[in-house]
């Protein structure tokens, strides 16, 4: 979280956190996608948007608040045991990939989503001491691909639609370059 903590950044972070929590809570009301624990992870749209609008540190902050408050709202504090470490590693990978500037947000989202769901399953197996749950790994990885693609495309569409003034300066320049080259 380098640079000045401006009121604009605080406001955007708060807004994205609220949106992530709402998306997380609404998604919780629906049954999982074929496999227990498998969800599209629509709240990740707002976490990825935070990377582009307020920066990496704030994105991690949005993620942490979403996991802690989301688990409390769902009445499932134990979910933090596996969603926190897995999500943090996946988000770190996404931040590194996006920061290189060599990959698109969609591919970063797909990789992050697959890593997140796979790691969640591994951590869950370790926490519960039940290796049999690894039988769901292939299905979770496939669902991760689809979920990552949907989230990535949603983030891409949002970034194109958002006014450039909201984006981190470097990203705004990139978007401008991208438009001028087309």
């Amino acid at each position: 979280m380098k640079g000045n903590i401006t009121s604009k950044k605080i406001a955007i972070t708060a807004l994205l956190t609220a949106c992530a929590l709402i998306a997380f809570s609404i998604e919780n009301l629906f049954p999982p996608l074929f496999i227990p624990g498998a969800r599209l992870g629509l709240s990740n749209i707002f976490i990825l948007l935070a990377i582009f609008t307020v920066g990496n540190g704030y994105a991690i902050l949005v993620f942490l608040i979403k996991v802690v408050l989301g688990s409390l709202f769902a009445g499932n504090i134990s979910a933090m045991l596996y969603s926190l470490p897995a999500g943090l590693i996946a988000l770190t990978v996404q931040i590194i990939v996006i920061k290189t500037g060599k990959f698109s947000v969609v591919s970063a989202s797909v990789l992050g989503s697959v890593i997140n769901l796979t790691l969640q399953n591994i951590v869950f197996c370790l926490v519960t001491n039940t290796l049999q749950f690894l039988i769901y790994s292939p299905y979770l990885a496939l669902i991760g691909c689809v979920a990552g693609l949907i989230v990535g495309l949603a983030v891409f569409g949002s970034l194109k639609a958002l006014p450039k003034i909201l984006l981190v300066k470097k990203q705004a320049n990139d978007l401008e370059d991208s438009h001028s080259e087309h």
Binding site: P32, G75, S78, A79, G101, L134, I135
Partner: protein, 159 residues
Amino acid sequence: MNQGKKNTANSITAFKLNDIILYILTIVIVMICFLVPLFLKNENTNSFSVYKNDSLVLIFDCEKDKYAVENEYLGLVDIKEENGEVLITIYTSIEKDNYNTLLVNLADNSVKVIESTCSVRKDCVHTRAIVNGEGVIICLPHGLKIMPTGSNYIPVVTG
């Protein structure tokens, strides 16, 4: 545009040529995930055990329709049987306000969680049934684990 800018240029695009590397990496992870279940052994048993915080609550033998409940949990387990199906309610608190209800189908040797007060998500209810010793159901908020009885099998005499 300088070199530094070039490195990050077009980062907001739907596809870049370098994405192929990430997609190949993703495919490798998915393939590894497909290999993992091959190394998991199937218990191939008709009985299952229920654990609460790693302590045994009950063992149920679907083939013999017999069960054994640990003394510690006698007042916290309610078992009803009708039409070839057994409903097992396991209360996870002494106040009996939190519970998981299991449905045992004796005809196809299966067990699944049909009701739970654990959380909004209810992952245990959405977990697929344990059939012929294949699968496992976990309710993390209640610390409940339902799994096929394997090497830790204890002869069933009660019920």
